[in-house]
Assembly symmetry: C2
Homo-oligomer: 337 residues x 2
């Protein structure tokens, strides 16, 4: 059945059915701060705050069919997961815990109702995983499918920002990079064999896991400078440096990557790790003493990858193990290029 046959209100009813989860708890950090008092279905949702020491985070992220995803590489269920994941990752990058989501769907009239159900299935999965909830949204007809998620979060302590990197800071990542780009490449390769390593990479691409716990560890240890890696390690470090008015050096031999990535793409893994997007690990900077304290509390794959330097704001230099400057092969991602 197509959504045009069901009509707007029929579809809204179905969505309420698919997303109804009696007793589905929000996570502890959120319920200590606030509770939803008006849920889906009114002009606006309403959240009552029960503490006066709350800093709330707001973020939003959009995926457009044919630009950010295709039905070939992203089934509807994965699309639902990823649309929430990229927002959860932004909240994680501030050191917060995700709270409430508004979901906007733009859909062609001939979209299958079953596909929309799958989409909500993926969103429900990740919401349950991270203890967050969809409390509102909008559904509109559109010639091209898109999904916009706006997400709130509750900050633990001072939010980590992009403007706080200082020369002398070390640069760390909370986990391996390049896996998502490797998974996407594995999907697109016609000749690609099956193989466990390839399947692992595809799963990383399909179901990225935002580093919420890692973000809270960073904040608890006094880190105040961070962002998430969504457009690639080198590009995103460039953005953080630009916002802070500093430069940075990445040491290629310090960049952590999944063994599966190194095995499947033995030649290119470092390019994928440096320039591939959608990893959703956190990139952070801290004075050496803070860095050495925090790195031991993070998962094993967390690593120091370089340092912040004086220099033209936003410049990132990648050094190969022999000390020579590495030049990138491809161009970065420009949303309007």
């Amino acid at each position: 059945m197509r959504i045009s046959e069901l009509g707007e209100f029929g579809l809204i009813e179905r969505v309420q059915e698919w997303t109804r989860e009696p007793g589905h708890p929000v996570n502890g950090a959120v319920s200590a701060a606030c509770r939803a008092v008006v849920d889906n279905g009114d002009d606006a949702a309403a959240v009552a705050f029960v503490s006066d020491q709350v800093t709330e985070l707001y973020t939003t992220d959009t995926m457009v069919a044919g630009i950010h995803f295709t039905s070939e590489t992203t089934p509807w269920r994965d699309l639902g997961w990823k649309a929430i994941a990229s927002n959860v990752s932004d909240v994680a990058a501030m050191g917060g815990t995700p709270a409430f989501a508004l979901v906007t769907l733009g859909l062609p009239a001939d979209t299958l109702v079953d596909d929309v159900k799958e989409l909500y299935g993926g969103m429900t999965e990740i919401c349950r995983e991270f203890g967050t909830r969809v409390i509102g949204g909008d559904m509109v007809r559109s010639p091209v499918a898109f999904i916009t998620v706006a997400l709130t979060g509750i900050a633990a302590g001072n939010p980590m920002v992009r403007t706080a990197a200082r020369p002398g800071h070390l640069v760390g990542v909370t986990g391996p990079v390049g896996g998502s780009a490797g998974g996407l490449r594995a999907m697109l390769e016609v000749s690609g064999s099956a193989g466990t390593d390839r399947e692992q990479l595809k799963l990383i691409h399909r179901r990225p896991r935002p580093h919420v716990a890692e973000g809270r560890i960073l904040v608890a240890n006094g880190v105040d400078s961070a962002m998430d890696v969504s457009d690639g390690l080198a590009d995103d470090l460039g953005k953080l440096c630009a916002a802070s008015g500093v430069a940075a050096v990445i040491r290629a031999d310090g960049v952590p990557a999944e063994p599966a990535l190194k095995s499947v793409f033995a030649e290119d893994w470092l390019d994928l790790a440096l320039y591939g997007g959608e990893d959703y690990v956190l990139l952070f900077t801290a004075p050496p003493a803070v860095m050495s304290a925090v790195i031991g509390q993070l998962p094993n794959s967390a690593a120091v990858v370089g340092e912040i330097t004086d220099g033209p704001a936003g410049t990132v230099t990648v050094l190969d193990p022999d000390g020579s400057t590495r030049h990138r092969s491809g161009a970065g991602w420009d949303h309007f290029g």
Copy 2:
């Protein structure tokens, strides 16, 4: 210049320039409750609450080119105004004051930079008018232009909801209806003369003014059942009745409309008033004693238009002055129909 020539980061810089307003205050109700501590340009925006008696509202609304607007009837500046206005209206319908907005733009790569500037100009105008601010968002490439706004608000007292209408309540509106639909029709009529009345209707369509002050008057007087009129008085009353499990009667001779509407569309004004959308006045229900107390505090054009009855949930009957049932000419707006 087209946005593809400027690139994503060039465009983001321009937007920050266009939206920078040093000292631009948020309204009093908002600054008493919270303040922005991380603004545009980071992974997420952050708002610190300074009171523990706050109920926050969240809403989102989307406009897609070719579906909800066309460049013929909605210049970019008006589009910016309207995209914020429909969200402010949702906050008003809960009795709240608008606070912070996240703006997502999906734009074709050949969009003119000057058009984007106009769009932000319209958003800035209405934000200034209502004391609210854009603190974040997302910009993505899309084959079809769309604009999604997510808006928070601060509730004054208990939020008014759609589920609280009861048999015996009277039904009121906070202002005239049909003006926006009349303005749209005036724009589309090739043969339409100029005339002051037509210009007034066009302005109502182009620059709707959400009823924030009116919503606060309703809450202050104990009204707990309301929504905004975005899809047409009769349709929206049907939604409110469906949510409350009740029916309603509208008395056609009680429906308020601008004199300009009655003058320009002498034959059809009542159909435009009953079934035309985007008026953004508030529709509310209350026991007779509450209604008579509140109606005198609202603008003169506020009026009682009918009553809530027992009957099949969501059914709205329109009675003509002679007591006969009025049948509608056209079908309602279905987003996927």
